[in-house]
Amino acid sequence: MSRSRGPLLFKDIDTPGLAGLETYRRAGGYATLSTVLGRKSPDECIEVVKASGLRGRGGAGFPTGLKWSFVPKGTDRPKYLVCNADESEPGTFKDRELIEKNPHNLIEGMILTGWAIGAHTGYVYMRGEFGWLQKILDQAIAEAYAAGILGGDIAGSGFAFDLHTHLGAGAYICGEETALLSSLEGFRGQPRLKPPFPAVEGLYRCPTIVNNVETLANVPHILAHGAAWYRQWGTEKSPGTKVLSVSGPVQRPGNYELPLGTPLRVLLEEHCGGMRDGLKVKAVIPGGSSVPPLPASLLDTGLDFESMNAAGTFLGSGAVIVIDERTCMVDSLWNLIRFYSHESCGKCTPCREGTFWMTEILGRLEHGKGSPTDVDLLADLADNILGRSFCPLGDAAAMPVQGFIKHFRAEFEHHVQHGTCIANRRREELAGVGVRS
């Protein structure tokens, strides 16, 4: 591709050989190590990241510098840095491209973050399906060790940092930071009570910062060029860029790095080329499967944390799932809630039982066997899961249910009254090959 795919993280991402150390260095990579390690104090680094306004790119959007500042000072306990590369939120596939094409960017971000928080060991927790990607990152880590960029004395600074990858084995819940830490410690991947927050008591009960891949990939750029430079992109409260993963029947699905605040319509029409096969947009899930959808009437909403909240949804992980007019919303929600039911870790009752019953109700609605009270029952269940489950997985299942009913209640009522979908491209296609579903 000749044209740059983004202003920052994706600027050079398609450069051939960028995954190799030499090419990464020629593009300016690892230059920040010599200007930061042993030269800028950890507190200065934290202040720069705070001033940049960088917010977590994994979904929650928590201010990164503030999170780092929660690591206690003057403790003699080891501190850990953990990169969340679980990338398990349906619709999200950005961290995979960042690691596959530019693994050294992540390594550099982790070394610098390790320096800022006083950690000498880092782990990258990757989802189990990324075994092939782990090989790419392990290769880059081995190159970095061989060049003295990782290990006991990084680039002659006297700072020591070791980095290892850790492969999960198929569990959405391990993208939740405390479940991730349980899994990394060798337990079943179930969440833990907060507080204590990981920054105070995380991995091996030591202070731990857990950051997403994209968050850490921004750190070298911010420390190299400063907060004001970083704020040239984005909005006042959501500075910088965001990698948006677009899926569904658009002309050009894929990852796009855009300044935060870019309208959803610009992403879909200008960058993704609009819809394919003459389809029209019915709804867009803007931030991964756990956020409420936006109807097509709200496509001018900006892709930043505040604008999405004002529209009743979340920017989340920036995973934009486009649903067309010929797709049934009841069927789509049933698909998503099956996912949450499958992935509920079983620890708490509202999530375990609630996702099971929501799946049952949606299944009977979809198949025309719903009763007139089912739509309210479904909404009532979601209302009772939200805020009452042990970890955010329950909320992640409840929020789409609430949003789908709020914006598309007529489709649910149609299922109750007529026993069929208003339109269902998926089932028509299956019927076309002789399968009843």
Partner: protein, 170 residues
């Protein structure tokens, strides 16, 4: 398969790490401050070698990580990617979550069922293919997609592309 099914299997001979794997096992243990943390890496090393985690292999993992056997069985049954029974030479894992479903994953899965004559979770008689529906693989922009064993995802598939793929999997 539940943990109880595993525990009721006939006792096998105790497993040992083959010489060729011992360096990998030592490397995995060296990455963490305690042996428990290596339990998943050890399972992966074992699964890549034996293809699945038999009760004897899980006991070997328990001995190596110095954990109670019951806990290791508990961990193995929590994660969906640890195979607790043998799988075919090629484990076809078809993503069925929304983004892929919008792009025709259901049709693709039906096509595979018919071509291979097996359903979700089953293995062909010749031991070549196991077919499985899975949840989101993080390849949403390339849906529909599938993963063969632990390899890189095959994306933007249709029936013809799947047929060509099957031809390469001998």
């Amino acid at each position: 398969m539940s943990g109880a099914d595993v525990l009721h299997r006939v006792e096998e001979k105790p497993a040992e790490w083959p010489e060729a794997l011992r360096a990998q096992v030592a490397e995995a243990l060296a990455h963490y401050p305690n042996r428990r943390s290596a339990v998943m890496p050890l399972m992966w090393i074992a699964q890549r070698h034996w293809g699945w985690l038999s009760p004897a292999v899980l006991r070997l993992v328990a001995r190596t990580s110095e954990l109670p056997e019951t806990e290791v069985f508990g961990i193995a049954t929590f994660y969906t990617m640890f195979n607790l029974k043998p799988v075919g030479k090629y484990h076809l894992q078809v993503c069925m979550t929304l983004s892929c479903s919008l792009m025709g994953a259901d049709r693709l899965f039906q096509h595979l069922r018919r071509r291979l004559g097996i359903d979700h979770g089953e293995t062909t008689r010749d031991g070549r293919f196991t077919l499985r529906r899975v949840e989101c693989l993080a390849a949403c922009g390339g849906g529909p997609c599938l993963q063969v064993n632990e390899e890189k995802f095959h994306e933007n598939l249709d029936e013809a592309a799947v047929d060509r793929l099957l031809e390469t999997l001998k």
